[in-house]
Amino acid sequence: MLEVKELSVSYGDVVALMDVSLEVEEGSIVALVGSNGAGKSTLLKAIAGLLRPSQGQVLFMGEDLGHLNTKHRVDRGIVLVPEGRRLFQGLTVLDNLRLGAYIPRARASYDESLERVFGLFPVLKERANGRAGLLSGGEQQMLAIGRAVMAHPRLVLIDEASLGLSPILTRTIFALIVALNQQGTTVLMVEQNIHMALKISSKAYVMKTGHIVLSGTGEELLANDDVRKAYVGERGSKL
């Protein structure tokens, strides 16, 4: 479904991504893990069209997205749930969801999408007319994902869904991501909670300083000594 080929991105003189290649199969959950500054968010932004790569290609359903801006990528079904959620805090929950369905393709299926979002996240229905900024952290993350679902996505890019959430809420959010996936939406997620991310993903990539250093199924990586030592061990207490 998604194919990233030898992608490089630089911020000025600083190279953030170097020859990164990965593949996401339709219907799967793929995790992108690694320490801070490894380039995971940069990669998601480049796929979403928010950053221009200096080299390489992003292919979606066989189409080279090189020339397309974010709007057109959303139109093709690639939707980003950004790091830090980036909700419109002063707007109502419903307004946030409406904005998620802004593009014409999504407007057509607005009612259906809204039902889907309220089905996944009933609390959003209760708070529909309240301001997004008044939601709790977990609810805000649900709204951020719900807003992306409103765009009727085929591939959702989720950046650090568990950031700032308690372990219990993280579990809830992860369960919801799995539910979303089971409804047929493909997921590419960046996650700091590596253990949990590897558990739910069918495939994972480990990034380090702008490179992909390791890839495999979630189980393989969980069993990999390097991964355990470098990432899972130090965060094991979180689980």
């Binding site: 928010l50 974010t70 709007k71 980003l80 950004p82 419109f88 707007l91 307004d95 904005l99 593009i103």
Partner: protein, 293 residues
């Protein structure tokens, strides 16, 4: 007491003009963080257009609204795409401020060339009509201007609350990049809010032409007054901007009444500084500003 009432009412009537100007600035600043210093100049320009339509074609200034507001909207779109489109993408907001200053002086001097330095005003048959109630005199035209100010604030409010693009404008004023992530064309949202802001300058132009006399260099003062009104009202709230305008008008008239005309500007700019120091989010601003230091 009646005299004081009259002073306050005069202030409200004058302030409605500041309010319209400030509402336009608020929209433009809200979405793009542009301090559009040329807003006053645009108001004067549209006042000249009204003047011309009146003198050459004998069109009633209030009927001119139907021509001037759509014209102002289109001028706004044109200005945005020609001048600001590239600059709003830059991190450095100073470029947009300098562009606005350049535009202000350019248009000021073009107006001097076209319409000369002679102060103009539009005198219509009902210019001197006055409503008297309980010893208080309200010039009909100023009352109409107040109505116009409220009507335009209401229209902009409904636009922001009830339309899809209006919701996107509100979203963009919070987080422009996040609107992009939703697949919304950030440039189009900016263009629309800019055009609506300039459309409000068109409304204010009708008010200026009918109630005040004006010349080519009035724009800067109007822009500054609108900024003061905006600082009082707080960003991102059209009714706040309108209220800020009314409060400024009242302050100016009270200062003139108690201390004399020379104190008008000392009072209004004094309040401006005080608000910026102690209440930078404005009197009605919800959002507290983020401290960087």
């Amino acid at each position: 007491m009646t005299v004081l009432m009259q002073v306050v009412i005069n202030g409200i009537l004058l302030g409605s003009m500041y309010g319209i100007a400030a509402a336009g600035l608020s929209l433009i600043f809200g979405t793009m963080r542009i301090i559009f210093l040329a807003q006053g100049t645009m108001i004067v320009f549209f006042a000249f257009v009204v003047y011309w339509l009146f003198v050459k074609l004998h069109i009633d200034p209030y009927l001119c609204l139907l021509i001037v507001v759509p014209l102002a909207f289109l001028v706004g779109l044109g200005l945005f795409y020609s001048l600001f489109r590239k600059a709003v993408a830059l991190e450095d907001r100073n470029v947009t401020l300098l562009l606005a200053v350049g535009l202000m002086y350019l248009v000021d001097n073009a107006m001097l060339k076209v319409w000369s330095a002679t102060p103009r005003s539009v005198t219509i048959s009902y210019s001197n009509a006055v409503i008297v109630a309980g010893g208080i005199r309200v010039p009909w035209l100023r009352l109409a201007l107040l109505g116009l100010a409220f009507a335009s604030a209401l229209v902009v409010f409904l636009f922001l609350k009830r339309t899809r693009i209006g919701t996107a404008v509100r979203a963009a004023s919070e987080d422009l990049e996040a609107t992009k992530i939703q697949g919304i064309s950030a440039i189009w949202v900016c263009a629309i809010s800019f055009a609506v802001g300039i459309g409000l300058a068109g409304v204010a132009g009708v008010g200026l032409a009918t109630v005040f006399s004006f010349d080519y260099q009035f724009g800067f003062v109007w822009a500054i007054k609108a900024l003061v009104a905006l600082s009082l009202g707080g960003i991102g709230n059209v009714f706040g901007a309108l209220a800020g305008g009314l409060i400024l008008g009242i302050i100016e008239n009270l200062a003139a009444y108690y201390w004399g005309i020379a104190w008008i500007d000392v009072a209004s700019y004094g309040i401006f500084m005080l608000v910026l120091i102690f209440l930078p989010q404005g009197l009605f601003g919800r959002r507290a500003l983020v401290k960087k230091v």
